[in-house]
Structure formats: structure tokens, C-alpha cells
């Protein structure tokens, strides 16, 4: 593990390894999301109570998973940056934040659209919905902090601390439906334990979840690599790279 963290210290190494991994994740993301969308929207059976409106789950659950996972990833990157001063970790965290905010918004929005036909309301201040809204504000806070400082080091430190402290919200989101009475139902789809739907419904959901994660990894690799070039633009190896390609 130390050896891996050691290697991360070199942006050049990350740039090279990212180039090799990136195409694989792009292809996986495109294939999985395409298959999952067609399967989920066209071939999976409708729900016995909700009919076709249940199909929103194929966007809602993957985006909610990603919204929370990206925040945890940001916090881990923040810790690695703060303790070991690894700049690539900070760059990756900075590049993840907009996608995380977007995914949080997508899950809130798709949940609202889903809530109208099933619950009879698009918003309710229950523990799950409110903690998810707080997650959106945390993301916006992290993004704002990065833009608010003249010095990049101060901005990175402030954003890392907010991400690490804000990660407390993640278990609250996850367990809100178990700890309190909420309008939102408990989790259908868990990594371990039972799944509250038959195979022909959850298989496309699993594919969509994997597709969303691949998309997140591919996009983060791509954006971090371009951020490396931007921040290291005065370094020798980047100049050589630019010169070589001209």
C-alpha cells in the first residue's frame, strides 16, 4: 500500500497509467449504460403497484449511489492530500466534485418526479430527502471553497477539510430510513443481504449501477489527467510531451 501511495506522488506516473485505463472504463460505461437503459426501460416487467413509473429506479438508484460514493472518494482524497501532501489526490478530488453535485441533483430530481405519482407529493421534509439535500449543499460548498481562495493550497486544504467533516452525512443518509420514520422506503438494493425484487428487475439495475461507476471512473481519470497537464504545465515532462506531439 505504501508503494502505491508512493507512486501516486508522481503526477507523471498517474498521467501514464490513466491513459491506459481510461479507454477500458469508457467502453464499459457506454456498453453497460446502453444495455441497462434498454433492458430496464423496455424489457424489465412493470411493478404490480406502480406500473411503469417504477422504471425511474433505473436512474434514481445509480445516481444516488454515485452521489454518496463520490463524496466518500473526495474525503479519502482529501485525507491523502492533507497527510501525505499528494497533489494528484487533491486534483482528483477537485475534478470529482461537479459530477458528485450533478449526481446528487439527478437523484433528488428523479426522486421528486417519482414521488408525484407514487407518494402524492414531490417533496417532503423527511430524514432521507433532507439529508440528501444537505449533501447537495456540501458539494456546492466544496466547489465554492475551491473558488474562494486566492492561493490554491489554502483552497485545497479548506475543501479537503469540508469533505472529510461532511462525510459524516453519508451514514446519516444511508441509515436515515432505518433510524427514523420516513416517507422514503428502506433500501431495495443492497450490496449484501436480500434484494427486494426478482432477478429480471434487479439485473438491469445492477448493470446500470456498474455503468454509472465506470462512467465516474472514466470521467475522473480523464479530467484529472487534463488537470495534471494544467497544473504541471511548467514542468519538463509536460513540455517534452507537448513538444513531442507538435
Amino acid at each position: 500500500m505504501w508503494a502505491f501511495i508512493n507512486k501516486l506522488r508522481s503526477p507523471k506516473w498517474f498521467y501514464a497509467i490513466g491513459a491506459r485505463l481510461q479507454p477500458f472504463f469508457w467502453v464499459a460505461a457506454a456498453a453497460l449504460i446502453l444495455v441497462g437503459t434498454v433492458w430496464g426501460l423496455a424489457f424489465a416487467p412493470a411493478d404490480y403497484q406502480q406500473g411503469n413509473s417504477f422504471r425511474i429506479i433505473y436512474v434514481h438508484v445509480p445516481s444516488a449511489f454515485l452521489a454518496q460514493s463520490i463524496f466518500v472518494s473526495m474525503a479519502v482524497c482529501g485525507l491523502v492530500y492533507m497527510v501525505w501532501k499528494i497533489k494528484v489526490a487533491d486534483m482528483a478530488a477537485a475534478m470529482m466534485a461537479p459530477l458528485g453535485a450533478a449526481m446528487t441533483f439527478v437523484s433528488l430530481f428523479s426522486g421528486a418526479v417519482w414521488g408525484v405519482p407514487t407518494w402524492g407529493t414531490w417533496w417532503m421534509w423527511d430524514a432521507r430527502l433532507t439529508s440528501m439535500l444537505i449533501l447537495l449543499f456540501l458539494y456546492l460548498g466544496v466547489i465554492a471553497l475551491r473558488g474562494a481562495f486566492a492561493s490554491r493550497d489554502s483552497a485545497s486544504r479548506a475543501a479537503s477539510v469540508l469533505a472529510m467533516v461532511g462525510v459524516i452525512n453519508i451514514p446519516i443518509i444511508k441509515y436515515s430510513v432505518d433510524w427514523w420514520y420516513t416517507l422514503h422506503q428502506p433500501a431495495t438494493f443492497t450490496i449484501t443481504g436480500r434484494v427486494g425484487m426478482p432477478m429480471e428487475m434487479w439485473a438491469p439495475l445492477l448493470i446500470m449501477v456498474l455503468g454509472f461507476y465506470s462512467f465516474f471512473i472514466a470521467l475522473t481519470l480523464m479530467r484529472t489527467r487534463s488537470e495534471i497537464l494544467r497544473r504541471e504545465s511548467n514542468k519538463r515532462w509536460v513540455r517534452d510531451l507537448a513538444g513531442g506531439e507538435r
Partner: protein, 177 residues
């Protein structure tokens, strides 16, 4: 240059972990203090125990008890009983019910508790559980003699059995998972 935990890095790590732990304790205590207010609704048990205020806007939640829905044919008035299978709460409502409203369904009703003991609802929201299944599976369950509230525990279990081709529904034990 090695990256193992030098004393300086170790100290930094502890400061960060301490900060996060402190924040977690602060948030945890706040949530603990607010635990009653974070609940979206009162259950009929809590209302029967007198925990809910009268004639103030509250939310109550539970299942619609089977066979208690009485509709007025000339208006939108409807009466039903919300239950948590321990205590019951009578609800009076006038308005359009959500599509998912039916007997045996989880609901959240927003309204004011009257001194006569019933709740005058302004809004009825449907809850649904975390289980989804195709209509054919639901129908097979019904034919096998399950009641709607059994669906929640047995749906996944029975759906699996149906897939395996043993659709007779025999040997159903209580849903232990």
C-alpha cells in the same frame, strides 16, 4: 523518498481524525436530541399514548386497515382507519387520494387531531415498501393465499420459488429475512 507515517504525518493524521470524530459526536448528539422531531410522522401507538398534540398540524403514519375504507358516494369524503397493528387511528379526509392508496397500503396523513379522537386530514400521502415485483408474481401470490401485508416479507422469497417452478406456495414459513 519514503511515504510511511513519519511522526509529523502521524500527528497530522491524528489531528484530522480527531476533528472528524469531534464533528461526528456533535452531529450525533444533535440528532439524538432532535430524534423525536426528525421522525416524519406519529404512529397510532404514539397517538394513543397521548404523545401527539391536539388541533395542531401533525403527520400520522401507518397501514390502511383492510375493510375500513368508507367512501361517501356523493362527495370526495372518505374515512378509513390507519393502524400499526397495535393501535388504530380513524381518519377523515376530503379530497383526491394518491394512486397507490388502497387497503393494506402504508400512508402518511397530514392533518389535525380532533378531541373526538379522529384525525381530520388535509393531505394523504401513500408510502410504498422496498419490494417490487411484476403483476404476474403479485397475482400468483394472491392466488396462493397471501394477504397484501405478507407481500413485504414474502415477495422476494416467493418470487424466487415461482422462478424455480414451484408455484404452489406450500411450505411458506414466516419471512425470516
Amino acid at each position: 523518498m519514503t511515504l510511511s507515517l513519519t511522526p509529523k504525518r502521524k500527528q497530522k493524521l491524528y489531528v484530522i481524525l480527531g476533528l472528524v470524530a469531534l464533528a461526528a459526536v456533535a452531529v450525533g448528539l444533535t440528532l439524538y436530541a432532535l430524534r423525536a422531531n426528525i421522525n416524519l410522522f406519529f404512529s397510532p401507538v404514539q397517538i394513543a399514548a397521548g404523545e401527539a398534540p391536539y388541533e395542531r398540524q401533525i403527520r400520522a403514519g401507518g397501514m390502511v386497515r383492510e375493510g375500513t375504507v368508507v367512501r361517501n358516494p356523493d362527495s370526495l369524503d372518505v374515512e378509513f382507519t390507519v393502524t400499526d397493528y397495535v393501535d388504530d387511528l380513524r381518519v377523515h379526509y376530503s379530497g383526491i387520494l394518491p394512486d397507490l392508496f388502497r387497503e393494506g397500503q402504508g400512508v402518511v396523513v397530514v392533518g389535525q387531531l380532533q378531541h373526538d379522537g379522529y384525525l381530520k386530514a388535509d393531505q394523504v400521502l401513500a408510502r410504498h415498501d422496498e419490494n417490487y415485483m411484476p403483476p404476474e408474481v403479485a397475482q400468483a401470490l394472491e392466488e396462493a393465499g397471501y394477504k397484501p401485508e405478507d407481500f413485504q416479507q414474502k415477495a422476494a422469497e416467493v418470487a424466487k420459488r415461482l422462478e424455480a417452478g414451484e408455484a404452489n406456495g406450500d411450505g411458506a414459513t414466516s419471512g425470516s429475512y
